[in-house]
Symmetry: none
Subunit: 207 residues, 4 copies
DNA sequence: TATGAATGAGATTTCATTCAT
DNA sequence: CATGAATGAAATCTCATTCAT
């Protein structure tokens, strides 16, 4: 990357960080471009050199933040030796829940802004992003656990991801109806059931 | 209710209906008070006789619409003779999913705006609302299926409600990753697992 | 006064009291008719049965409150035996300053809203108001101290009244540049000078 | 000052002049931001780049206009050779009264909007404002007339300034109870008395 | 008389976007 | 590339006044 490209990238990051910072505190619709550029310490016009509008930066942010979480969890999973698909997904889910607990503001991106099917499409399109090949991870995942003969793996991923976020949202945000730690056992048990469902014979599913 | 009070109630409903109508088509933040009053056919100032601001009417709407769905599903459940808790919840869930499929705009109220623990608190506070006693329903529910010795029933309700909405959102809105009908079998199976989890011995849950 | 007239008078007083109460706390322009009727506990339409608008009630209030102060001071003066005009005016001024200190909100009516020459005209027009003849007081005043051969008595009254209020405003409102008690000696000395000026030969005045 | 800063200053002045112009004709509360920007020939949003609201511009205006009057009178005083404190203050007062007579709209800023003690504090804080050092004038004033051993000079200034404005207001605005020229001799005599009071021994003052 | 819901003109304020520097 | 003053359309909100009851 050229020096000038690098400088551009830095300013873009400056705006993204500022926006993330503000979106964590107030809703996107209550945030103005002015809020963002003031926080970022750049001129108002500069914003339009990098983004079209608020929606544009918000989407970019949602995608990047979500991507970061997934990559972080995936890398962590790579480092441990787990050969069982249920344990692998539990590990993965647990890592994500812990990340969300540590940065609850991410829940709103994770919870509200992401269309998971679209997100998976984006990952598939995306080449080796900088230093991590997410698509390879995605493809390898089911190879690694190739003994698993999963039915509708995409639906499974979709259901599990949505389930994790939707069941953790309130517990993390306001401890209701219980703490995250208290709800975790339920979540893992249910994830197990979901996986078993997709491992089992399809005739069973359709009644 | 006096004639004048009745008229006031009607005007309030006029505004609520107009807001619902518009919120179904565009986001709350893209809707102006002017849009609402124009649709309702009342003067701008009139809006402020009934609501403080957009957030205020949106919350009222979210609560009422959600309440309507719940009551409708509950009434339908009352009319059938089901003595098994799993079947009852399946019936209830199915009814809700069908309502949401028929009126996808409700998903946004259901999906985004409701804090279920707060909603249940509101129901508990609420007296016999007009013609239906929702609290009584809530209390009766577990009595009726009294054989069921549920662990953490509130957590179960919370998880199931969140699960239903989060897993149906995309299928209803854009048929991804599959149609509602295709995902339903998975949903019911998973609900069964969730209930079984809460019926089983707690030592089992906590690993 | 008939019973019905009395009732009307009571409702008018209700509105006046409410307006006084609110005007004491916020400026007239920041007060709405709604504020007044809410405080008074009457309907909005009722306001217009008694007053034309905000200006109307504000003026009525300024006049009445100022009139009350003057009458109170005059009655108090009547009760003491003072035969010297300087002492009489000192006594009168002191009484007014004490009234204003006890009810600083009156300063704004006294200070801002009153045109003294117009006020004196109004007193002259006014008949025996209820139980006190202010005009008689005004006429008697200079008779009582008839030895005093005052030049331009109206200018003197004007200057003294304006002087009292303008020099007391800040001391009463925020103790600046000193307390009322600290500025009083100066005020009385200056009043004495003003009176002496009007007692002295006119050739002296015009240089 | 940079070219761009200069342009900003000009636009600020444009708004101030427009506001002054309108406030001279109608009350502040009857003036809208729209009136001001229309008169100034700038866009509505531009107003908010320079002022927070109407109160904000009105205060700035009150301060600046009053400051201008004081500086004008002070400069005029500098040009004449007067070594007697009484004559100096008479000259100063006369100059101010003449300015107010020539621009009666200033009376409302002078009369209503200024807290003299606060104004003097502001002058003390203010550095050499552009081309005139008001604080130096203030400090020099009593040095120049150093023979004068004044008691409570700040109270004296306060009383005199308030007295001038309050006794001139009606005469200038509507010639009541007499013309400005007719009341002037009284005013100067009274000012003399006030100064003498502060020159005399304090035991005398406190009775 | 008294009421208070309804009105809608108009005031305040915000803010995405442009463009000259 | 970067700036930030300027714009003005549009949003929010207020409130004096009316009028049917």
């Amino acid at each position: 990357m050229s020096r000038i490209q690098n400088k551009k990238e830095q300013k873009r990051k400056l705006l993204m960080d500022a926006a993330y910072n503000i979106f964590s505190k107030k809703s996107i619709s209550n945030t103005s471009i002015n809020d963002i550029v003031t926080k970022a310490g750049v001129a108002k016009g500069t914003f339009y050199l990098y983004f079209n509008d608020k929606i544009n930066i918000a989407n970019a942010l949602a995608y990047e933040k979500t991507y970061d979480i997934i990559v972080k969890a995936a890398r962590s999973l790579e480092r441990v030796k787990i050969f069982n698909i249920v344990d692998a997904i539990h590990y993965f889910a647990n890592n994500i829940i812990d990340q969300l607990s540590a940065a609850p503001e991410l829940l709103d991106y994770f919870f509200n802004a992401i269309d998971w099917t679209e997100f998976i499409d984006l990952i598939k399109q995306k080449k080796n992003s900088g230093d991590f090949d997410c698509l390879k991870l995605y493809n390898d995942f089911f190879m690694k656990y190739k003994k698993a003969d999963l039915k509708d793996p995409e639906i499974m991923i979709f259901i599990i991801m949505r389930f994790i976020v939707s069941s953790c949202y309130s517990p993390i945000k306001n401890g209701k109806p219980c703490s995250v730690e208290n709800i975790k056992p339920y979540i893992f048990k249910i994830i197990t059931s979901i996986i078993n469902l997709h491992l089992s014979d399809s005739t069973d599913i359709m009644k």
